[in-house]
């Protein structure tokens, strides 16, 4: 009797967890379904090759925004990935246990939770107002700040996996520590590090809020990194909140391209990670 009740309860709870899992997937397919359905029908050659048309005029594309996003994440990657990797090297190779490294680890974790809009405010105050113009560079810096903690944590995990014996082998051969780190430890963990970096880049690619006050947006091609630049998320935001039907469908198409970009970056990262698991 009691046993049966327990079995029922067991089945019920397991059923609920299964149901919750299925429920969690509903919005995923809801969002992706609409993005793919509405996005594909608006995707055409022009979308990838043309500049946006003035408001109310149909046609045009998001060529500059696609390139703009690539440039922005490029700047962010160049600034953020090396910073993150170097900081992670400090945490694993030079100082694993002191109060300082604990503080750095802790701050890094906390930093991942700081709202990105706040990064936007600070970069605006520090770079845009000081330099006297909105710019791709300012946008890239804002995205880099978002990437750094992600890169540090993933790199640290990867470097920790490198067996201590490898380092010791290096020292035993009389190779100085810095060369051991740069030429032996880092390359051993390279795939994992790149995976983490790629995931951070993917995350930055979709950010909108910090770009509002830094990259600003641009209907045309930017000629230098010192000018405002278009970005896919900014363009999607602008088009989504407009009343124009044509812009709505372009916003869906832009979303599709943005998601593909993010997913492809994550996917490459994942594949790289898979192939190094047997370490």
């Amino acid at each position: 009797m009691k046993g049966r009740l327990r079995k029922y309860r067991n089945a019920m709870m397991l059923g609920i967890f299964l149901l919750f899992t299925l429920l969690a997937l509903v919005p995923l397919f809801g969002v992706l379904g609409y993005v793919v359905k509405n996005g594909i029908s608006a995707l055409n050659f022009d979308f990838f090759t043309s500049l946006p048309k003035p408001m109310g005029v149909s046609g045009g594309g998001m060529a500059n925004a696609i390139v703009g996003t690539l440039i922005l994440i490029g700047i962010a990657g160049l600034l953020g990935i090396p910073t993150g990797i170097l900081a992670a090297i400090y945490l694993t190779e030079y100082d694993r246990v002191s109060w300082l490294s604990t503080a750095v680890r802790f701050t890094t974790d906390v930093l991942t939770g700081i709202p990105s809009i706040i990064i936007g405010i600070v970069v605006y105050t520090a770079l845009v107002v000081k330099a006297g113009n909105f710019s791709a560079f300012a946008g890239g810096v804002a995205l880099a700040i978002i990437m750094v903690p992600l890169v540090i944590r993933s790199t640290e995990e990867m470097l920790k996996l490198v067996p201590q014996t490898i380092r010791e082998a290096g020292y035993a051969l009389g190779i100085p520590r810095w060369r051991t780190i740069l030429r032996i430890v880092l390359p051993t963990a390279a795939k994992g590090i790149l995976t983490g970096a790629m995931l951070a880049v993917a995350r930055a690619a979709g950010e909108t809020a910090p770009l509002l006050f830094t990259a600003l947006g641009n209907q045309y091609w930017s000629h230098s990194l010192n000018e405002p630049i278009a970005a896919l998320p900014l363009q999607i935001y602008q088009y989504a909140t407009s009343p124009y039907k044509d812009w709505h469908s372009q916003a869906w198409a832009g979303s599709l391209v943005l998601i593909l970009l993010v997913v492809i970056l994550s996917f490459i990262a994942r594949l790289a990670f898979r192939s190094r698991k047997n370490f």
């Binding site: 107002v129 030429r183 600003l216 000018e227 909140t241 009343p243």
Partner: protein, 361 residues
């Protein structure tokens, strides 16, 4: 194998170091005097009221002047004023002229305010199956925005529209969430006709709305009206027309019901003398045909330009926009600038200098 990857990573590190040095260089204020031989990029931001017209003017202008790129972002008049004051953009756009206080706070010295266009603000609504040109009296409009009239079947609305049965539908008030010249024009009008509005809410680019949902930019409010049954909103006429939104007739100062159009906006402007500094409000204008919710939209330009190439390009564009560029206005239901105003503005543009030399010949 390993050393190959090592080289790669060392290369990345070296690249980072080089870049961080370059980075330090670019954060410093860049060289404003460098002779940018041909290509010039101008950045403007602000009003979404004039954005549809300005966007077409820019597109047209760049066909003739391929070397000039003008990036205009519709971020709201408040932002136009703020960013031009902080010198983060080359020119601003606003439909609420800058106050003396705001002018005093500008970082780059004296700012000239040039009327770029003249437009009417449509009171748009979304009532399923209702006809266009519903009549809405100014006091009724104020009461809707004060939250005192909340349903479309309210007797006050019915009284002005005999023979029309409006549905029992909640009114969804929409307004701007950003600092907006469109809001400034609208709230100046409500303050002019409703003492209660004037004392409770007041006028400005951003106000403390008693009711409603906010959208960023004219486009966003038009989108809200379009997507929400029962919605009402104030938007620049071009947005209403481009999206086939219904607009209301508004009773003007003379007691006539007037639709928003380029003619009724021109009639409103004709009732006022534009002062030398070009700062004028034309809401609730007298005149039989005058539409009461209309206004100018201004470009904000520093009288002393700090970059010769940019300054020249900017003045050439603005001069073109107030002359030839006006021909694009009527098709979008913006009123062309009155000719006497254009010549005064041209004189104003000629006072803009770079190191003491006028830029516009």
């Amino acid at each position: 194998m390993i050393s190959k990857k090592g080289k790669l990573l060392t290369g990345v590190l070296a690249g980072f170091l080089a870049l961080s040095l370059v980075g330090c260089g670019t954060t410093a204020p860049s060289n404003p005097n460098a002779p940018t031989a041909q290509a010039v990029t101008l950045t403007g931001a602000g009003s979404t009221f004039m954005q549809p017209l300005l966007a077409q003017q820019i597109a047209e202008y760049s066909k003739q002047n391929a070397n000039v790129t003008i990036n205009y972002q519709g971020v709201g008049s408040g932002a136009g004023i703020k960013q031009v004051s902080d010198k983060t953009i080359d020119f601003g756009g606003t439909d609420a002229f800058m106050s003396d206080e705001q002018l005093a706070g500008a970082k780059g010295g004296k700012i000239l305010q040039l009327p770029m266009t003249l437009g009417a603000e449509a009171i748009s609504y979304n009532i399923p199956n209702a006809p266009n040109e519903l009549k809405i009296a100014p006091t009724t409009l104020a009461d809707i925005y004060l939250g005192k009239i909340t349903n479309w079947n309210d007797p006050a609305i019915a009284a002005d529209n005999p023979g029309l049965t409006l549905p029992n539908l909640k009114i969804s008030v929409t307004h701007r969430s950003d600092g907006s010249g469109t809001t400034s024009i609208f709230t100046h009008f409500l303050s002019a006709i409703s003492p209660e509005w004037d004392s409770k809410v007041g006028k400005g680019t951003s106000v403390n709305w008693p009711v409603g949902v906010g959208g960023k930019g004219n486009a966003s409010v038009a989108g809200l009206v379009q997507q929400t049954p029962g919605a009402i909103g104030y938007i620049e006429l071009a947005y209403a027309l481009q999206n086939n939104l219904h607009h209301a007739l508004i009773k003007n100062k003379d007691g006539n019901w007037v639709a928003p159009s380029l003619d009724s906006a021109s009639a409103a402007a004709a009732a006022f003398q534009v002062p030398d500094d070009m700062r004028v409000n034309i809401v609730n204008a007298p005149g039989a045909k005058a539409y009461p919710i209309a206004g100018f939209s201004w470009a904000l330009v520093y009288q002393q330009q700090s970059d010769k190439a940019k300054g020249t390009a900017l003045l050439n564009f603005l001069n073109w926009a107030i002359h030839d560029g006006q021909s694009l206005a009527p098709a979008m239901q913006y009123a062309p600038l009155p000719t006497n105003l254009v010549s005064r503005e041209e004189a104003m543009l000629k006072t803009v200098t770079y190191q003491g030399q006028p830029l516009l010949k």
